[in-house]
């Protein structure tokens, strides 16, 4: 088992509890062999270059990873395509399961995959009715644009037929389809949506972002998990792929530049919770990145004429940050059940 993120709870401005650890939801990755499960996991969470995934061995073991940062806190469990996840004694795992991902190789014949998927979903639903079902129609980079949507449509209908035969129509309400590829940002976006469903505070976060946008005249803002480039929340306006990609690239640029020019002598990275960056684009737009904590960053895009009042944005950002802290405080108190003073937590922000 490997863990991503930082294990030291004290490092967080708002930490995670032991009790939460047990309640940590599980994201289960399934799919037929060679559909790209390991590649997705490695590209999203371990920063592997997409081309390197060609040299991945077939996964024989049930692989468990912990993904953890301030908001994101879950485990991924990947089952080898040759094994059914229901063969072994995995009922407890499915009880804790938040999302069940089924990955389909779109470049291959997916009849068998679709059958297996319907069967897995039905079985999982019987164990835990709260599971979110996610279908990744993967490797779409090799498909022409029009057949992507055809595939999506066809799979949707076949699934609907199969499940209604078993009298499980209502599962379809919780199934989402995503077209993904590891060669572009679509996999990050799809995973973002999966993860967002696991975050209970999502409506509050969205509301906070909306208020921030309104008061600062910001066009679009994302709350990013920096390492995985998953956005855990955005405002309520629709997400354009191009904007998302722009923000992802900005994070990469910022991290790279701090690594090259900002590294201190003791080897620690200059990229930390105090980092911030702004990039002015030719399109009269400004990209602004502000770190909220070690793992979280707020990235927003705004028109350059609205960026003249920096002080206002700065002030709004601090208010926003305090709002986020409050969300965590409530969560922490709910978990521990004991109200306590937060001097130490707030102290770290002074």
């Amino acid at each position: 088992m490997s863990s991503y993120g930082d294990d030291e709870i004290d490092d967080y401005a708002y930490g995670l509890d032991e009790a939460e650890r047990a309640a940590r939801p599980i994201v289960i990755l399934t799919g037929l062999k060679r559909s790209g499960k390991t590649s997705i996991r490695k590209v999203v969470f371990q920063k592997m270059s997409p081309n390197e995934t060609l040299f991945e061995e077939s996964t024989a073991r049930v692989t468990q990873d912990t993904v953890r940062s301030s908001f994101i806190n879950f485990e991924t469990v990947e089952f080898p395509g040759q094994l059914s996840p229901f063969d072994a004694n995995t009922e407890d795992m499915f009880r804790r399961c938040g999302a069940l991902l089924f990955i389909i190789d779109a470049q291959d014949d997916y009849t068998e995959a679709q059958k297996t998927m319907a069967q897995y979903f039905a079985q999982a639903y019987q164990i835990n009715q709260n599971i979110k079902f996610e279908v990744f129609i993967h490797k779409v980079d090799g498909l022409p644009e029009e057949s992507k949507l055809d595939t999506n449509f066809e799979l949707f209908h076949k699934m609907k037929e199969d499940l209604s035969e078993q009298g499980l129509d209502k599962i379809m309400n919780t199934v989402s389809f995503h077209l993904t590829s590891i060669y572009d940002h679509s996999i990050f976006e799809a995973f973002s949506k999966v993860v967002q469903k696991l975050i209970k505070q999502l409506p509050t976060l969205e509301r906070l972002l909306d208020i921030f946008n309104q008061s600062s005249n910001v066009e679009k803002s994302f709350l990013f998990d920096v390492v995985s480039k998953i956005y855990i929340a955005t405002d309520s306006s629709p997400v354009e792929m191009a904007t998302y990609e722009l923000c992802c690239d900005m994070i990469d640029v910022t991290i790279d530049i701090s690594a090259i020019y900002g590294s201190k002598n003791d080897g620690t990275s200059a990229f930390d919770e105090k980092s911030y960056a702004e990039i002015r684009l030719q399109t009269e737009q400004v990209l602004v990145l502000r770190q909220l904590s070690k793992h979280l960053a707020l990235v927003c895009i705004l028109r350059s004429e609205n960026y003249e009042k920096k002080g206002l944005i700065e002030h709004n950002f601090n208010i926003f940050k305090m709002g986020i802290e409050k969300v965590f405080r409530v969560r922490k108190q709910m978990n521990s059940g004991i109200p306590h003073s937060n001097s130490s937590q707030v102290g770290s922000y002074q």
């Binding site: 270059s49 081309n51 390197e52 060609l54 072994a88």
Partner: protein, 572 residues
């Protein structure tokens, strides 16, 4: 089933599969499946025979009950197939009455079930982390001598591969070694295999942990080195065709456009182990490895039931070779009757020598035997000669009797002290201290020496001074009122009495503070005439006892060295 060994593979198409299982099948009953005259190869290594291919008409012979053929429950492709469902490899171990059978599907449903469960666990669930402790930097780093070897493994294996022990009473216990071997056509250029030792007995597996680890590792190394050769060869061929693909280039290749590479990797996940290793005989090789791993364990762990404290003779017998035991007729089931027969013969010899020979021939023979001199019997009858010698062995501790029942040439006294040979064998004149007796059968056959003719042909130098044991033996053998059963007991107790003295003598002589020879003789209540007996009979002491004595003396010496120092420190 004490344990079974299996090779498992994570098949790209089918998932975890048991490829080949080697299981021992024991003969619990006394029924003889093998005819008496068949080769009871006690020392010959068991050679595997391929059944089905060699003699389709005659079913192969094996120990144990009839085997139930279990149907293969799994779908298979070439990659997870070994011998197929109809043929198997068989080795018979006649010594332990065990047959080792290697097959694709195990012969018992329980075994099959356990191995399949264990196979799934070893390949898909269990993770070995021996590397963690070794890669830790700290004072413990260099304690383990094998750390370099293990770190080498670490480079070649995936991070979760290695040895592991797991199991429960319901599904049996397993010692597993998971490893990868290179294959140019596999995904990631490697294939995952595991070797399992499955047993019901966790203590057996844990006690032999190091042995199994070593044995399984050597199998792994062999497979890997064979596969590596094929890998290099195929890579070479590929290099000739186009640029080579090596795992270490993976990071550099990431800069190339994706289509370029995917075109080059041609996967073929259905290649057999024979193809990967380039060895057609790989299954036989594996069978041999697995069979010997199991057999070595059986040979190492053998139970001996003892009644009371073992005597030196019993210990010596346990330490003896099979040939020696056969030569001395000790493996016979009705040894008591044999001993009685030998004693009867011994009495006959004593009476004959007393009556026919010159006055003290009997005493001379007795003394000659107990002091380690060589007795050579020239005879026209091999069985009678052998009986003569066997009856003489009753006068000696087991370890002292170096007998050769029949030999065409003379053998030196350091090799054998009881030698039988045909008439007129050339016995060198300079063979010292050799007592030669000519035994003529006079038409007698069978095993009794009554009516035979004995003549002493060569006499060694003879001193009148007798060890105390000689008159005692003479008295016992000549007393007509002592029946054979009593004679057996009294002879044994006399032997043991003197063996105990030899034992004491041995112990005294080995002490670090030297005890004079005469003093030692005196301490064990022997006379100087018994010196030769005491020295010679030390050969009848068991190795275990001798080692024990040395051990104790060493410990005492160490203790003695420490004590004076302690004394000084307290004085200070």
């Amino acid at each position: 089933m004490q344990a079974a060994i299996a090779l498992c593979h994570f098949c790209e198409t089918h998932g975890p599969r048991v490829v080949i299982t080697c299981q021992p099948i024991r003969d619990a009953s006394n029924s003889q499946i093998f005819p008496e005259n068949s080769d009871r190869g006690l020392h010959s290594p068991c050679e595997p025979s391929t059944s089905g291919a060699t003699s389709p008409t005659e079913p192969p012979k094996y120990y144990g009950d009839n085997l139930t053929v279990v149907e293969d429950p799994d779908a298979r492709c070439d990659a997870c197939t070994s011998l197929g469902t109809t043929s198997y490899l068989l080795s018979n171990d006649h010594l332990t009455r065990t047959s080792y059978i290697s097959s694709q599907v195990a012969f018992s449903e329980i075994v099959l079930d356990r191995i399949r469960t264990s196979c799934l666990r070893s390949l898909s669930y269990e993770i070995s982390i021996p590397q963690l402790s070794l890669t830790q930097k700290g004072p413990l780093k260099d304690v383990n001598a094998s750390s370099s070897k293990t770190s080498n493994d670490q480079n070649e294996d995936g991070k979760d591969d290695g040895n592991i022990f797991y199991g429960d009473s319901e599904h049996g216990y397993t010692f597993a070694l998971t490893f990868r071997i290179p294959d140019t056509k596999a995904r990631g250029l490697q294939r995952l295999y595991s070797l399992l030792v499955v047993s019901n007995d966790p203590t057996f597996l844990l006690n032999s942990h190091d042995f199994f680890l070593q044995a399984l590792r050597s199998i792994k190394d062999k497979l890997r080195s064979l596969a590596m050769e094929t890998f290099r060869r195929e890579n070479q061929q590929m290099r000739e065709a186009e640029e080579p693909l090596r795992p270490e280039n993976a990071s550099r290749i990431s800069r190339l456009p994706p289509n370029l590479i995917s075109r080059r990797i041609s996967l073929d996940t259905k290649r057999t182990l024979q193809t990967i290793t380039g060895d057609e005989e790989i299954w036989i090789r594996l069978h041999r490895h697995m069979m010997w791993t199991l057999r070595a364990q059986t040979m190492r762990i053998g139970d001996v039931i003892l009644e009371g404290v073992p005597t030196q003779d019993m210990l010596v017998m346990m330490e003896m070779d099979e040939t020696e035991i056969e030569e001395l007729d000790l493996d016979s089931p009705n040894s008591h009757n044999l001993t009685l027969l030998q004693l009867h013969n011994l009495k006959t010899i004593a009476t004959t020598l007393l009556v026919d020979g010159c006055g003290d021939d009997l005493e001379m023979l007795l003394k000659h035997i107990v002091t380690g001199g060589q007795v050579v019997i020239e005879s026209d009858s091999q069985p009678l000669c052998r009986q003569f010698l066997l009856s003489l062995t009753n006068l000696l501790p087991l370890g002292c009797a170096k007998m050769c029942g029949w030999s065409d040439v003379y053998q030196h006294r350091f090799m054998v002290n009881l030698l039988g040979c045909p008439l007129n064998t050339d016995i060198p004149l300079d063979a010292e201290e050799c007592l030669v007796i000519r035994l003529l059968s006079n038409g007698c056959d069978g095993l009794l020496l009554d009516g035979t003719n004995m003549e002493i042909r060569r006499r060694p130098q003879f001193a009148a001074l007798m060890p105390k044991i000689v008159p005692r033996f003479k008295q016992l053998l000549l007393d007509p009122e002592i029946v054979d059963t009593i004679l057996e007991t009294t002879l044994r107790s006399t032997r043991e009495k003197w063996l105990a003295k030899a034992k004491q003598f041995y112990q005294l002589q080995r002490q670090s503070t030297k005890i004079g020879f005469d003093k030692a003789t005196q301490l064990v209540r022997a006379t100087p005439h018994d010196k030769m007996v005491l020295i010679f009979w030390q050969a009848g002491l068991s190795r275990a006892f001798k080692e024990h004595v040395h051990e104790i003396i060493r410990e005492q010496d160490l203790l003695n060295q420490k004590t004076p120092q302690n004394g000084q420190s307290t004085a200070c």
